[in-house]
């Protein structure tokens, strides 16, 4: 009985075929498909075409697994066994379609997910590589731009001191503004590069936040007025005047937000608020808020505007790199804060962030104010005229330096243009400082400096000397310092920089 059952079930999915040595069917039980006796099995499916090659083999049993047989009437996935029986061959074909189909779906999802993972990883690597390349490029590029830009700035300054028609002055003003915009963009770009490269560090120094607020008030009421906008500002009097933080970065953040607000508002009001969230023993949590009544930002773009080079309106003629908000976002992240945005299209936007600052106890801040006063006194002391010896052979440079120094009304200037004459002047002149062209023709500035430093009299050998050179290579600068110069200013210099260097080194 069992044998009967066995036959009933076991044989159901199997077909037995007997072949001769040419592959011609001798007998077949036709369980799976019909194949006429005397026909060649080679014609049934290309799989069987490979059988004759095995007929001559020394082996007697061959097992093929998972062979897909697409026949006229039906399609099977089968295991096929070939047995050598004297000069006949027995084929046993087992239909395992169901079994293999389930295996198919498992393999399908496994393979797909492996491939997908690999491609995602590759894609990420590629993106990272591009990002690195982009950052390197931006950093190098903006760095290279700094020098020519500085030169332009200096020349504009010098030009501004020459006699010009009103029209020329106007053009120069325009040039100046364009150039300073360009410079701001460059600084923004560099900041981004530095943040991305992890090179930007946040400083924590005591500064006067109230003054900071007033500066913003002053700067931005002018800027908004120019565009016909109203400017409103708010300061909570409970906020400590002095706080510890990174004034420069805070400025960069707030300025970017305000510039942005102005850029995207055609009329209405731009507001700037500093409010107090909370005050503890020596920390204060403040809210900085910039509100505009501009075009607003549609909900779907509210994330994207913080990405590099995004512009809400690409056609907007507004200036900027499109980096402003990216910088805001990244700087705030560095400062453990986060930019928040509420915006409605055509109504306006509110950008705000909260930040905690340490602040000194009242006695400490008095001390700081005292420090400030002291510095102011130095400034007043500077009103007395200093004696400057200018050693320079180029007439044009003489002229511009004269102008810069005389305009401050703090200096009295003597001129020497030959190395040999300089020493004589120095001995007789009682100078407070010497400005020395490094690249003089006969005796170089470096040689003259060495001679002065070798003088036996203290009041002469210690006169501060500032070198002026066009050669910005470190090697040259090192030589200047080694010869005994107190400082070196590189041409083209900005007026401010030169004056600061002089003031710093006055004895």
């Amino acid at each position: 009985m069992l044998k009967l059952y066995q036959e009933e079930f076991a044989n159901k999915n199997m077909q037995f075929i007997l072949l001769d040595s040419e592959g011609v069917v001798i007998e077949s039980d036709q369980k799976l498909f019909d194949i006429p006796v005397d026909s060649s099995i080679l014609k049934l499916h290309p799989f069987f075409e490979s059988l004759p090659a095995l007929f001559d083999s020394a082996e007697e049993v061959f097992d093929f697994f998972c062979i897909h047989l697409a026949l006229k009437e039906n399609t099977f996935t089968t295991d096929i066994k070939l047995l050598k029986k004297r000069d006949e061959f027995l084929l046993i074909i087992t239909d395992l379609t169901e079994h293999y189909d389930s295996y198919q779906s498992v393999t399908q999802s496994r393979n797909e997910s492996v491939i997908k993972t690999e491609l995602t990883v590759l894609k990420n690597l590629e993106l990272q590589e591009r990002e690195r390349f982009k950052n390197r490029f931006i950093q190098n590029f903006s760095h290279e731009l700094r020098n020519p830009l500085t030169s332009i700035m200096a020349i504009i300054d010098i030009l501004g001191d020459t006699k010009m028609t009103t029209e020329q002055t106007k053009m120069l003003d325009f040039l100046k503004e364009s150039n300073s915009n360009l410079r701001l963009m460059l600084e923004d770009t560099l900041s981004i590069g530095m943040i991305d490269a992890g090179k930007l560090e946040i400083q924590h120094k005591l500064f006067n936040l109230r003054k900071f607020f007033e500066l913003m008030q002053f700067t931005y009421s002018a800027k908004t007025k120019k565009k016909g906008l109203k400017f409103v500002s708010f300061w909570d009097d409970r906020i400590p005047e002095f706080i510890e933080g990174d004034r420069l970065r805070l400025f960069q953040i707030v300025a970017n937000l305000l510039d942005n607000a102005i850029k995207y508002s055609e009329n209405g009001t731009v507001s700037f608020k500093i409010g107090l969230n909370q005050k503890r023993a020596n920390t204060a949590n403040l809210r900085f808020e910039v509100i505009d009544t501009g075009i607003g930002i549609p909900e779907e773009s509210q994330e994207a505007i913080f990405e590099s080079f995004h512009r809400e309106q690409p056609t907007q003629k507004g200036k900027g790199t499109g980096l402003g908000l990216t910088i805001v976002k990244r700087l705030l992240k560095l400062m453990n804060s986060k930019i928040q945005l509420n915006s409605e299209q055509n109504k306006g936007s509110v950008f705000y962030f909260d930040m905690s600052f340490k602040y000194p106890l009242p006695s400490e801040s008095k001390w700081s104010e005292h420090g400030n006063k002291k510095r102011a006194n130095i400034g007043r002391k500077a009103r007395k005229k200093y004696k400057v010896l200018l050693v320079e052979d180029d007439e044009y440079v003489q002229l511009t330096l004269f102008k810069i120094l005389l305009n401050t009304d703090s200096f009295q200037i003597d001129l020497a243009y030959d190395g040999a004459l300089v020493l004589q002047e120095v001995v007789n002149g009682d100078y407070d400082i010497i400005l020395m062209d490094v690249d003089l023709p006969n005796l170089t500035g470096i040689q003259i400096t060495q001679l002065i430093r070798d003088f036996p009299f203290k009041n002469i050998k210690n006169i501060p000397i500032i070198g002026i050179t066009a050669n910005a290579y470190q090697e040259n600068l090192d030589k200047c310092m080694a010869a005994g110069m107190n400082d070196v200013v590189i041409k083209p210099y900005e007026k401010e920089k030169l004056l600061n260097t002089i003031l710093k080194n006055l004895r």
């Binding site: 499916h45 290309p46 799989f47 075409e49 490979s50 090659a53 095995l54 061959f62 097992d63 093929f64 697994f65 998972c66 062979i67 897909h68 697409a70 996935t77 293999y100 295996y103 198919q104 393999t107 399908q108 393979n111 797909e112 492996v114 491939i115 690999e118 491609l119 590759l122």
Partner: protein, 165 residues
């Protein structure tokens, strides 16, 4: 004269074995991926010269990243082999040298074509760097999608096999 030659197409999964055969046999292509389980066998008659035809019996094997595990019975009596990798996926050619060694061990002295497929996905210059970096040399860089070098591949192998006979 008419002869028939068995060619086994193998390689890692998803590299485009089935697609290459489909392009060669029916000149079509599909973006959908349907895993091959076991083996699918098709046949194509090719004319390698005037009055010189050969039937290629193409065995399209299930892909695997363990070449070692390929069932020996599939390789029995094969005349030629095509080993396919995917130029856009390093995992399919990272161990190419070793994979080929395993194959050659299983079927020594059987003509073998090494094929980098999906050439349409990688630009030519980049492809060259990829190949050089990995010290790969492929007999053909094909695209089942565009059809590039697919016929050339099978014709060259067919010619080689018939010449061998």
């Amino acid at each position: 004269m008419h002869s028939s030659k068995k060619i086994v197409v193998l390689g890692h999964f998803g590299v485009g074995k089935t697609s290459l055969i489909r392009r060669f046999v029916t000149d079509t292509f599909s973006d959908n991926y349907k895993v091959t389980i076991g083996v699918h066998i098709t046949k194509k008659l090719v004319e390698i010269a005037v009055d010189r035809e050969v039937s290629l019996i193409l065995w399209d094997l299930e892909g695997t990243d363990e070449i070692e595990s390929i069932r020996d019975s599939y390789l029995l009596g094969t005349h030629g082999l095509v080993f396919v990798f995917d130029v856009s996926r390093p995992s399919t050619f990272e161990h190419l040298g070793n994979d080929l060694k395993i194959v050659r061990n299983k079927v020594p002295e059987t003509p073998l074509m090494v094929v980098g497929n999906k050439s349409d996905l990688v630009d030519k210059a980049e492809l060259k760097t990829v190949l050089d970096e990995n010290e790969l040399s492929a007999d053909f860089l094909t695209s089942a999608k565009t059809g590039e070098f697919v016929n050339e591949l099978f014709l060259k192998l067919a010619t080689l096999l018939v010449g061998d006979a």
